[in-house]
Symmetry: C2
Subunit: 104 residues, 2 copies
Amino acid sequence: MKINQVLKALSHPIRREVIAKLRDGPQSAGALAANFGVSKPTMSTHFAALKEAGLITAERDGVTIYYHLNVTVAEEALSAVMGILGAGEKKRGVTKTKGKGAPA
Amino acid sequence: MKINQVLKALSHPIRREVIAKLRDGPQSAGALAANFGVSKPTMSTHFAALKEAGLITAERDGVTIYYHLNVTVAEEALSAVMGILGAGEKKRGVTKTKGKGAPA
DNA sequence: CGTCTAATTAGAGATTTTTCTAATTATCGT
DNA sequence: ACGATAATTAGAAAAATCTCTAATTAGACG
């Protein structure tokens, strides 16, 4: 899981909404696309970004493609974000140096 | 807290590293900038993005500016990401319709 | 095979992001 | 006031992102 790809994927509202919808179960590309005011090719690009990030997987059934949320990657991503944001841990105070030998 | 700004802020490796460093306590702009292979003005831009997102705050002490992690916003952001990624909840199965009256 | 549906890839334009150098602002100390 | 230090703003170039329309691929079915 590449955290950079995952966070870039999460940095667009449409892609976040897609993930939210897929939490209720797999859905076809077309059904997903119907929820947003952009063209289908644009949605394809967003699906591709999510797929690249590993957050979703595609499954073809006949002519229809169903996207599934990859729960494992979603959980890994969440852990990673916890690691970055600190998950509520407290740390030591300022190391302020007021006098002459000032810090950078 | 605007989740879009926060996630965009998190979508750059340098900005994530800055947050990580600030978890150990406030640091000056210059001290932070010293850790990355980019110019100081570039770092200023990154600080501005983090500040816009509310993830850090600035405090001037003489000629030096100290950045602090905004723990509250960091925690809110984490909650928001949990909401998006689902925080490990399980949901119902596929609603696959194989026959004629196919879904979109 | 021809045609219809579902979705993607191709190509291009507009906007945003990232980064740089140069100039400016703000503060301190003499 | 002057000069040094810390950091930002200004302006511009390069790269990435987002979106569109048109064309293509893939499969189903009569």
